[in-house]
Amino acid sequence: MQNDNINEYLSQSFTSFKDWDTTSDVVSFQVSAAQIIDVLTSLYNEFGYQFLTDITAVHYPDRSKEELCVVYHLHNLRTRHRLRIKVYLNIEQPDIPTATTLFSAANWMERETFDFFGVQFIGHPDLTRILNVEDMDYFPMRKEYPMEDPTRVDKDDEMFGR
């Protein structure tokens, strides 16, 4: 029932709201990068989704113009209900406003997403690499990069089944 309230409210207030999906275990929907902060704020204030569980990203190289998908997981601790919000971004210019104004926890979550996928969070206080070495020049979790270090010489690829 709460699902329907959110569905109605969001589809009326935000034009880019689409893909309301209840088939998977967590209800998910999609918005655009321009409206994400307003959506998060209204969910925070009106509906009580005041706990940010996670921010992460997924790389779909097959979807053209929408390769990077930033996924927000929200949680309403009172009604024990979770939400998943997806924002698709173009890999040429993956800009999205930061959620740190609303949730302090988003700080390092966004840094991690930037470190691995190259998503630029506009307005973030310190968007630098957090887990990888500082001078790394590529974004390792994108699908085109291999898992192994390409410069290593001691392990023979043939013996390792590659």
Partner: protein, 404 residues
Amino acid sequence: MSEHHIKLPEGSIGKQTTTINVGPTHPATHGVFQNIMEIDGEKIIKTVPTIGYIHRAFEKIAERRPYYQVTTLTDRLNYCSAPINNIGWHTTVEKLAKIEVPKRVDYMRVIIMELARINDHIICNSIMGVDTGALTPFTYFFQERERIYDIFESICGSRLTTNIGRIGGFERNFTEDTWRYIDRFVESFPKMIDEFEKLLTRNRIFMDRTIDAGVISAERALNYSFTGPNLRASGVDYDVRVHEPYSSYDDFDFNIPVGKKGDVYDRYLVRNLEMRESYKIILQAIEKMKELDPSVYHADVPEFYLPEKDDVYNQMEALIYHFKIIMGESDMPAGEVYHSVEGANGELGYYLISDGGRTPYRLHFRRPCFIYYQAFPELVEGGLLSDAIVALSSINVIAGELDA
């Protein structure tokens, strides 16, 4: 990026702050993470944490491993309580593939997970004692972990990084040895924890060091997405075992200890009480398992659970299933799922996207240590350096989970 040698205001003793590096190599082996602190005498003005010194790229490796091999990676996240991570992963895959496990498997899992939780809390509280100078409780209480290791070893063969369980259950039933070790643990644990509490809980020095150090209020903790004992010490009773019960936790009767102030002493007390609650859960699980059929230890899902070697050599279907599972033609449905378990440090979440193939398309770990460690500057700025050290050990940062 961080500014060094901040100018101090007029009237202070020094002219600018000193930069010290509480570096990656720590005594008392908390793990490798760094804090660059600006201090004025003993007071901390600003601190900037740096992490990534043990980044092992779990998420990238997981995209290349079949589902049953990812368990070895999950072990190494919070390595002090590895079985919780393993069982969390198995329950995630079971959620995606819609597998139902029998009750007895659930209860076996509950026993193992609570033992792992006790394991982790023993380490955290003992190390908190060591950081305030009390080495004796550490030496005494660590012995209890050897008994827990014996239990794990009799099931899966390994003490620390257990790789325990399989998708659908366990690899072998609890043997007689296991039950003997569990009985031995059940007998000796209450005495050990009482002894530990007698040494530290009402100890004047420990209380003076830890009360009102590293305080965080409930609102700030929720804004920083704290979970687990750190959040419960600040007053919010959020526990994944009660909010979204998995593995039949709703059959058990246990309390959730909650603190008042959110300081280091509250976290210590919450962890101690949680150990006692875990003990109660283990006793209840042992009682409940007596009524169930003792030969059941896995679900009947031949597409995901390897058949017995005997059957593989003698029966055709078992051979085919064995081949399919190992060669990776298993029927994992495409879809995405987010499942979380109550780890020893908080809500450990697995966000799994599958495209129907042999390996996950994307696996993301929602690691509680990573998320609450960013609140560390707020815990310690304005306080003394010795309070910062105790606060750091009280929030129980495990480096494996921080960096994944």
